[in-house]
Subunit: 314 residues, 2 copies
Amino acid sequence: MTRKCADLGERQLVRKITKILGITEKDDCAVLDAGDRYLVWTTDMLHRETDFPPAATPWQMGWMTAAVNLSDLAAMGAEPLGLLVAVGVPPDAEIGFLDELFSGLRDCARRYGTEILGGDLDSHRELTLTGSALGQVEKDLILRRRGAHPGDLVCTTGSLGSAGAGLRQVLDQGLAKTELAKRLLEPVPRLVEGRALARSGAVTAMMDNSDGLALSLSDLAEASGLGFVVREDLIPVSAEVEEAAKTGEDMIGLVLHAGGDFELLFSVRPDGIEAAREACDLTVIGVAVEEGVWIESGGIMRPLLPKGYEHFRP
Amino acid sequence: MTRKCADLGERQLVRKITKILGITEKDDCAVLDAGDRYLVWTTDMLHRETDFPPAATPWQMGWMTAAVNLSDLAAMGAEPLGLLVAVGVPPDAEIGFLDELFSGLRDCARRYGTEILGGDLDSHRELTLTGSALGQVEKDLILRRRGAHPGDLVCTTGSLGSAGAGLRQVLDQGLAKTELAKRLLEPVPRLVEGRALARSGAVTAMMDNSDGLALSLSDLAEASGLGFVVREDLIPVSAEVEEAAKTGEDMIGLVLHAGGDFELLFSVRPDGIEAAREACDLTVIGVAVEEGVWIESGGIMRPLLPKGYEHFRP
């Protein structure tokens, strides 16, 4: 039988495609040599059915599109140079909807010191927003997914599970403006933290955790050719998430597998942890090891399966 | 009654959006200052229903996506640094379809000396391809839509109407591989010509004619704050288009209003026409005047209405 995309899932498909295109590096952004610095460059497509819960406001959809692209720049320690956005809009969308959507795009860009510089407008059956972000970073400061060493401390910014708990509130209660819902729909790209961490000289590898902690740890481990052990009791979780979770198991599911948090996940040289702490608020959640991705809970170590958000796997 | 996007049409909507975003320049690409040169940067979204006739092959859809983005770089006299592509694919698409699609993207990029550097893969109800192209151009060589002066000669590369005639063959006969169909589905980004024209120092304003000659002349006129007179008998039309057209009137409709040709449309200082001719094959089709866009045919001048391909106007 002829195989379909849905038979393979996003990650296997991406492996096939990168082979066709001859892409060998797997970072949050493509990296271009620009003489005295690197340009870093990314694109992300969001659309109505897959990425925006029904309650999301058009302003939030615009914000989110800019934010997820800027987050990829943050993950490499870069500062933004600008954004482009290609927007496909259903012809029966109201003009006011479009006003709000583009205001959200603009407001997010300006909040992080940059601008929407141009784009493309299309008529499209399903609302589709493709952002592209361009940034720059000094050559000696760039942070990639590869570079971690066994013994490095693995750290995260912010707290985890908020976007997952927010999604539940948005879907169950149709609320788009609660604290948790905003963590999902108005994500904060960690550009300030990413720059400060790059400047600290203490970070060995970095990415954003947009696909959830479990999948992101697996990606970081694969890129660096090693493993991680994280301690469940160290993972930072907000009081709102604790309250929203039905059980302890439910909570850890949100934290490990739900995705959408857009925090930075990174490894730090053991002797650099003070420098990293001075750069930004962070939490040490574990350590890099020779191989495997493990979670330790109550003295018991178990493998942390790379389960998280994946397209083509409904 | 609340107004919808379809009530305004693409061009009015773009005017609204650029106002929200604070964009004042209207060129084929966004322009970023990079010290000794400019970076030029564009994005274009193509999708199944709007941009790809049913007979188009997946390889052609990939090629076309890369080509239309590269054409925007060509229009500013830039050389490509790379492409990104965000692809939304229906989950029931066959793996072989994806292979061909990405081969088309890769082949077009490599044909013009560049690469697909990265991207995003999504599950999407309608096949949607958003490309983004980044290029560079020396500061004194960049060509914009503004800059033409009355008396400049208006010129085009290649011949016009081929893509429009090709579309008819593709739709009527389901043929995707005839000479004319390939002009539509395998467009040639005029990167070599664009660079050579920029280096000639003779060109005062430039864009690609992807929306058709009439609409593109109107855009070039508006950006430069002047007008154009073109002579119908000077417009280059291939023998294939002459043969495919039902009548003379039908042919001139394809040439003026059909779009999809991706030739360069540009103005040349009168004393620079020899230098421009040395740069590339071109045809002088008219002259820049103080105001209005006019077409002269058989000694009669009539206004050339800005009618062409426009989204939200079925």
